[in-house]
């Protein structure tokens, strides 16, 4: 049976990535002085598993490279090697190399040994410097020239069978090597009343002839019972001279294939890896979740057959049955939907994992001391959201390291501990997830922000701005706080891009900062992107969906409260406030409908800013499944997606943050610029 090992490779790749993350986390812990046995064992185990799997699944380069890593770790584990900074740095570099090799394997590239030469040399240098435990067993000595045959005396200890080794199996195996004549020696057999049925009292002498019967092959048969028997293997011509009391077998060597073991010593195939079906979009699902799905589908099938039966011979008096069947269908569908949505949820640690290493590397490069504190990493979020917040998070963390956190001298001078604390926290708040990136650094200097904004022409030199308004300038497109562009943060990506990316996910960003005390950025994210609680509203002949979370209130328009501002923009007086008005029908070029005389005003809010959207009529509230406009049509400013309603028509989903951004830009000039371009706003 030749088994195709490639089917297991994806699992190996996934688990190796997890293992590398665990190694990295452990090594960083070790560096902080967390040198307990659990940490070291966890690092070792990860390396050990990767090596074992790589060898088994045909990734020779990975196995050979990891062998060095494992040997070093084994010495640390045994206490014969100290976990020096140099060693940890080399092992971290090895983790990076392995990530590259695993990525290569995932992409189906053949092993490229050159990718790991430098780091392999570094590891080897460390291994050479402190000759510790001896390397792997030396391969077997010179092969015997086969004599005509062998006489084998095999006298097991009475307890051998309890260890699971059956002498009959051993004799049978011996017989596969050639022609065997077996003679039992019953001399040790006690009298019946003294007989212990669980003990072995027999011994055997086997005469074995045949070309396959080499000394190695014979010793291999007895490899597992070495030490549990007396064994003497002598060539037939020779006299039986030495009977070793404990073991006649030479030093344990790697067993030949017939011994049931693997190939000897570092047996790593050098063959190129076969292409792996690359699947970066896979998701691991627990069997319990799959079972649950299976159950729900089973129930759905039962409901369906019940409804089918009602439908086949329907009579009015069975209406009640039909209704209860439909109710059951609705419940099944909802449960199935919830179950499927739960599978999409993954812990945010998937996005947080890269930071310990990143903070370690960057702070070392900048000469800053930073302690990273991570909380709530088990908080679950939709997989798509997790994938998309990665870049914004990296940007914010880099900003904190680069600009927020001071060098140790400066911190000491300010009376702060030299080691800064950077916190990454995630938690549930209402129907949303809040992710916060906070540092205890120098905070944002309002004067510098102001000066920069004036220099860039974003505000007038004499503009009177509140503290909050000054901070708000940071989100302005093209604003960068870095006086000089560093290679870390200054990549031409501003905070406005961070905000835009978060808003594209249906979330929001808030910034708090106190000079001298630190900065915190809170990111609010929806739990999922696929389903939305929506308010349906009619505009002319079209139905639109407005996300329920962004609606503050809806009211009948009182024409007396409508006003014009600066000639173009329309505002509505809402109690003591004025809010900009968005005539969505005009904005999307929908012909004015008969109901334009009255209409409803939906007051929506995003990022603390409000606007009123004029619609003809409010319809039902319902959950809608979001379909991507980009994937099916193209991105349209002011719309975040589409959905299909119960009657089969397509309804467009309004992008409230985007629309509000547009009204504010149209309304009060450049102060709150929103990067989205497009459609003219208001009547």
């Amino acid at each position: 049976m030749a088994t195709d090992l490639s089917r297991f490779r994806q699992t190996f790749i996934d688990e190796s990535r997890d293992g590398l993350d665990a190694m990295e986390a452990g090594l960083l812990g070790l560096e902080r002085g967390q040198a307990d046995a659990d940490t070291i064992n966890a690092i070792f185990r990860a390396a050990h598993s990767i090596k074992g799997g790589a060898g088994t699944f045909g990734f020779g380069t990975i196995a050979a490279f990891t062998h060095r890593v494992e040997t070093l770790l084994d010495e640390v584990r045994a206490g014969s090697r100290a976990a020096t900074a140099e060693l940890i740095a080399a092992l971290l570099a090895a983790v990076d190399v392995l990530r590259g090799l695993i990525d290569g394997a995932a992409a189906g590239a053949s092993d490229d040994p050159s990718a790991c030469v430098d780091v392999a040399a570094r590891l080897q240098a460390l291994l050479d410097r402190q000759p510790a435990v001896a390397g792997p067993a030396v391969p077997a000595g010179p092969a015997d020239t086969a004599p005509a045959g062998w006489r084998i005396r095999f006298a097991p200890q009475p307890e051998m069978v309890a260890g699971g080794n059956d002498p009959v199996r051993l004799l049978r195996e011996l017989a596969t090597l050639g022609e065997a004549t077996v003679v039992a020696d019953r001399s040790r057999l006690p009298a019946l009343e003294a007989l212990d049925p669980e003990a072995l009292h027999l011994a055997w002498t086997v005469t074995l002839t045949g070309p396959a019967a080499t000394r190695e092959a014979i010793l291999a048969v007895f490899e597992w019972v070495e030490g549990e028997c007396e064994l003497d293997v002598a060539p037939l011509e020779a006299r039986r001279d030495a009977v070793s009391p404990a073991s006649a077998a030479p030093a344990p060597t790697a067993p030949p294939a017939a011994g049931g073991g693997g190939p000897p010593a570092p047996a790593v195939g050098r063959g190129a890896a076969a292409p792996v079906p690359g699947d970066a979009t896979s998701l691991r699902v627990s069997t319990a979740q799959l079972d649950e799905l299976g159950n729900l589908v089973g129930e759905l099938v039962i409901t369906q057959s019940m409804l089918g039966q009602i439908g086949r011979d329907f009579e009015p008096r069975r209406l009640e049955q039909l209704l209860s069947g439909l109710a059951q269908l609705e419940r099944n569908t909802r449960e199935l939907q919830e179950s499927v949505m739960r599978i999409r949820m993954v812990p945010i640690s998937f996005a947080f994992n890269r930071f310990p290493r990143m903070v370690h590397d960057i702070s070392a490069r900048l000469g800053k001391k930073v302690h990273l504190r991570v909380t709530g990493e088990g908080t679950e979020l939709d997989k798509t959201v997790i994938e998309k917040i990665g870049d914004p998070l990296v940007h914010l963390v880099r900003n904190a390291l680069d600009h927020g956190i001071e060098p140790p001298e400066e911190r000491r001078a300010a009376g702060k501990p030299e080691e800064a604390t950077l916190t990454l926290a995630a938690c549930h708040r209402g129907g949303e997830i809040v992710v916060e990136i906070a540092d205890d650094g120098r905070g944002i200097a309002r004067e510098r922000v102001r000066a920069k904004a004036v220099e860039r022409g974003i505000i007038a030199a004499d503009a009177a701005l509140s503290d909050e308004q000054v901070l708000d300038l940071i989100w302005h497109p093209g604003f960068s706080t870095a006086s000089e562009v560093s290679d870390l943060s200054g990549r031409g990506v501003g905070m406005d891009v961070v905000r835009r990316n978060i808003q594209a996910l249906g979330g929001g960003v808030e910034l708090r900062s106190r000079e001298g005390a630190g900065t915190a950025v809170a990111i609010r994210l929806p739990l999922t992107l696929a389903i939305l609680d929506g308010q349906l509203a009619r505009l002319g002949a079209q139905v639109f969906v407005v996300p329920l979370v962004s609606i503050v209130e809806s009211l009948k328009i009182d024409p007396g409260q409508l006003g014009e501002l600066a000639g173009r923009a329309q505002v509505y007086r809402l109690r003591s406030d004025y809010i900009p008005v968005l005539r969505a029908a005009d904005a999307f070029g929908i012909p004015a409908s008969a109901g334009s005389a009255g209409g409803m005003l939906m007051v929506v809010e995003s990022d603390g800013r409000r606007a009123g959207i004029v619609v003809d009529e409010l319809l039902a509230q319902q959950q809608v499944v979001i379909k991507s406009l980009e994937a099916n049509f193209r991105a349209v400013p002011g719309l975040s997606g589409a959905t299909i309603l119960g009657d089969g028509t397509v309804a467009l989903i309004l992008d409230v943050p985007g629309l509000i951004g547009m009204t504010h830009r149209g309304g009060d000039g450049s102060r709150h610029g929103h990067p989205r371009d497009g459609l003219a706003v208001a009547a």
């Binding site: 049976m1 030749a2 088994t3 090992l5 089917r7 297991f8 490779r9 699992t11 190996f12 996934d14 688990e15 966890a42 070792f44 185990r45 050990h48 598993s49 090596k51 074992g52 799997g53 790589a54 060898g55 088994t56 699944f57 196995a63 062998h67 494992e70 040997t71 084994d74 390397g135 792997p136 067993a137 069978v161 309890a162 260890g163 699971g164 080794n165 199996r169 195996e173 669980e198 490899e223 597992w224 030490g227 549990e228 344990p252 790697a254 067993p255 294939a257 049931g260 073991g261 693997g262 000897p264 010593a265 570092p266 047996a267 790593v268």
Partner: protein, 120 residues
């Protein structure tokens, strides 16, 4: 159908072992570490145990030692999955009561040949 308890913390290894042994006509029960395996073994007796050595919670050597204490596991073959870099583990395993070992890396064919040899 002879049953085999396969213990390994690596999902890919478990997958490979399960697939190979199931193809070979064995019933396979899985555990992800020694502690889970021991709990399983107390509930039911299997015909053979195949265990990795390095695992969280309880390692393979301890598992073997614990299993040998159970009356039901006297004489049941307990095999260790070991690596060529750890010859001392074989001796340690034997001392704990292991029947034998399979050296990693191994091919599915080698695995099946060894199991066939032991279970007949």
């Amino acid at each position: 159908m002879p049953s085999i308890l396969a213990v390994d913390d690596s999902p890919s290894m478990r997958q490979m072992v399960r697939f190979t042994l199931a193809e070979g006509g064995y019933e396979v029960v899985e555990a992800t570490d020694g502690a889970e395996a021991l709990a399983l073994a107390r509930q039911r007796t299997v015909n053979l145990v195949l265990t990795d050595i390095n695992m969280p919670n309880m390692d393979g050597i301890t598992l073997v030692r614990e299993l040998r204490q159970l009356p039901a596991y006297k004489g049941v073959p307990l095999l260790l999955l070991t690596t060529e870099s750890a010859p001392e583990k074989k001796a340690e395993g034997k001392a704990a009561g292991a029947t034998g070992w399979i050296v990693k890396p191994f091919s599915p064919e080698q695995l099946l040949a060894t199991i066939r040899k032991v279970l007949g």
